[in-house]
Symmetry: C2
Subunit: 478 residues, 2 copies
């Protein structure tokens, strides 16, 4: 089905109608099928799954440097789940419960993990004895569940998150854990850079941090409609869970001390961001690194057809041997229909080869950003690599220009209100919880929190008027 | 934790005490941690997970040739699950049910998939329209659940199977589906060959086929205690599910016809087989292809220590650049303790390098099968490749000799009884269901079914005495 025909009657709405465009594109380009008979749970089409595999391979590559992949059970016994009071409060309304096994009720109810702190940390208690066991850095990529009562949306708000990458680390000191939060933010930043997706980094306000965390840093992507999508979070957990689950280590002086922890996660929202950031009115636009098909070859079957085909087959062979994912489209459709199909599928580079190209010893290369050029046949492989790089650059620049156009500094609640309707408002904020709540109420948008790794000049808090260097992003959030 | 210290006080029982040996090895070599607070659900240690990742990469490689990976939801609504009567009968006692979301009961109960026919086939109904959509071959690697009332056993009998690879295919005709069953058996055979694990292939008796299947073929591995472990199954589903779910296609003449289906699966039992087939009294023995660490370098720090270390680092660099997974052990332990540790972890090739080796320009190579030799430093990489191949051969031969010693042809129920206590009895069987049941009762062992792809001479059925070429394997099964 990766190369199946795109239905000729599919009409992709223009990207300005983002919501319709998004839903139609997921279906037409065969990312996920939303017709599964449970709300908020979808099926990955083979093509969508291939994108996901390639995308998560990047996450693995970035984490495998110093994290170990592992896997913990899905089901968490009620008593373990209910130990950490702050954590329960954050999740109890959204937990699915298994109450029956076969035809009889279970003695202990089992929660479907909404996230895995309460499954993992009882094991950390067994694994960690001494400072020599620290730091401990593990991750898993698993399905998690939230009984969402809000409107669900494919890849964005789900009842089964099918590919939650959650990392959990344990450290000796609070400061080391804080450093790890920075490492997490850096790795996630690198991940989104490789997908050519720009993002905002902020520290969530205290009332929006992870339940049980000391603080939370988050990455947000600005979607085409100006709303933001949280696409990665990193939490400093301090010793809250260590205390609850009794996770201690013996320090070099023989003293027992509580560990300090972090956790950080990314879900298939990264695929939602990928689709939304780059797609256009013709369909998907995929970065070269994650495209299931990186190069499509379209033979123009005029004149000496057999010779054209033979050359096309030779090209496929050569490209495939260079470990590039290539597809030769020999179907009966006309070239135009094939262009349309592979554009819809987001294929980064298209090669057209016809009798005229043969004569000149060239091949016509069309990039998914619309640029077309002729390439000497004997410079093909280096050209593909080069054009892939240029395309990546071009995607990233376009996405960055869009993101930049959607963030504006404002001074007042009124301005913030207008801007938050368009995108992200950068609002002066003294930092007090009270002013924060007032801001959210009066602007009618969410606070993403303080922008990180940036300095600002003094300005007056949009609520209380106090001078400070504090700012907060405000936006309508998915 | 992949390179964490093996506890010095761990005492691996001899492999003759298979059950104790198996449990202790999983723990000491850090494959899975069975201390998770729900019976039958375990945690993958990082080292175990790395083995699993490498092993499943082989499955993916073998299937990706002509299958598409995909993913379907875990939760199946009760009405879909309950549609196929034969199937329900096979699973209803073992299904976990989600009945509550948050604090309120769900309108429709949701089953945790014990296997995914009832999740996938309603979607096949939407995906398949015409003969041009066939054959359709997809697979997924997911967690599945069985509320086992029998004794659970890590990697073997689980309540959460964490890595069930299930393939599902759809075809125009019954014959094409039958051919696909053969393809499945071939791919699984190749998979186990790459793991150097010998297996039996049989057609399960009709009373032991998959619920809803026309027939089932299975791969079994003979475990060290002579009991067999089912490690792969392939089912011809005919049109049973197609009828239930209304999955039809339009044939070239415009007629609507029911599809024919197969499904086939492998679970983490493949890791149980891997551990059990090759392990010895010193610990794990891993085939080179799946070992998380393929080569361990142990510097012998005598004489000019810095020079030894420098050379060892150079070796690591060189080996690592050749994409071989290598570990240089510079810990403070003595060489003997290091040998012990890496043997326990099943590392296929160990390199020892000391001042004497430096003088001679050699390095000492020790294979996990006990063979030790000196290798010229400048022939290192080719030697590693060669020795890995020889080791693979040696593992496979040893495993095959063991398996062969455990299968015996017998003529009578009495002989079968004796042999099934030791391993697998090959028993003359006329093929009738009645004689089959009598055999199981009288021998006190299970029928694996008719050996496949073998011819036998005439013999008298051990029950009714009728002459036939029929045979069945009988064994105590895990």
């Amino acid at each position: 089905m990766i190369d199946s025909k795109v239905q000729a009657d599919s009409k992709l709405p223009p990207k300005e109608n983002f919501s319709e465009w998004y839903h139609e594109l997921l279906k037409t380009a065969e990312i996920v099928d939303n017709r599964y008979p449970v709300k908020g749970m979808a099926v990955w089409f083979p093509f969508g799954f291939a994108i996901r595999r390639n995308t998560y391979a990047i996450i693995r590559e970035l984490l495998d440097v110093d994290h170990y992949e592992t896997q913990f059970p899905l089901l968490i016994p009620e008593d373990e789940f209910m130990k950490e009071a702050q954590h329960i409060k954050g999740f109890e309304d959204e937990v699915y419960w298994v109450t029956n096994g076969g035809t009889s009720p279970l003695e202990v109810k089992l929660a479907l993990r909404p996230t895995s702190e309460t499954a993992i940390y009882p094991m950390f208690k067994l694994w960690i004895r001494s400072h020599a066991d620290l730091p401990l850095k593990v991750y898993q990529i698993v399905n998690t569940f939230r009984y969402e009562t809000k409107h669900t949306r494919p890849l964005i708000r789900l009842r089964e998150i099918t590919s939650f990458k959650e990392a959990h680390t344990a450290h000796e000191t609070w400061e080391e854990a804080a450093e790890q939060v920075e490492v997490a933010v850096q790795r996630y930043s690198e991940f989104y850079r490789r997908l050519a997706i720009p993002f905002l980094i902020s520290k969530r306000p205290s009332w929006d941090k992870f339940p049980g965390a000391d603080y939370t840093k988050a990455l947000d992507v600005i979607m085409p409609d100006g709303r933001t999508l949280q696409v990665g979070t990193a939490h400093h957990l301090g010793s809250t869970f260590a205390k609850t689950y009794g996770i201690a280590y013996e320090d070099p002086n023989g003293e027992q001390k509580l560990i300090n922890q972090t956790c950080y996660g990314i879900s298939e929202r990264c695929i939602a961001a990928l689709v939304s950031a780059h797609g256009d009115n013709k369909g998907l636009v995929l970065p070269y690194a994650v495209a299931p098909i990186q190069v499509a070859i379209i033979p123009i079957l005029l004149g000496d057809k057999e010779k054209v085909l033979e050359t096309a087959r030779g090209l496929r062979q050569k490209i495939s041997e260079a470990k590039i994912r290539v597809e030769l489209d020999t179907s009966d459709e006309r070239p135009g229909a094939k262009y349309y199909k592979w554009e819809m599928k987001g294929v980064p580079l298209r090669l057209e080869i016809g009798p005229k190209d043969l004569q000149k010893g060239v091949v016509t290369l069309a990039r998914r950003d619309g640029i077309k050029k002729q390439i000497p046949m004997d410079d093909l492989l280096p050209s593909l690599v080069r054009e892939a790089e240029v395309l990546q650059e071009s995607l990233y620049n376009k996405a960055k220009a869009f993101a930049a156009s959607k963030v504006k500094e404002v001074s007042t609640v009124e301005e913030a209100k207008v801007q938050a309707n368009e995108g992200v408002a950068l609002v002066p904020w003294c930092g007090s919880v009270e002013c924060g709540h007032h801001l959210e109420d009066q602007v009618g948008a969410n606070m993403l929190g303080e922008p990180q790794y940036q300095e600002f000049s003094q300005a007056k808090c949009a609520i209380c008027g106090k001078e400070s260097k504090g700012r907060t992003y405000m936006a309508r959030q998915y």
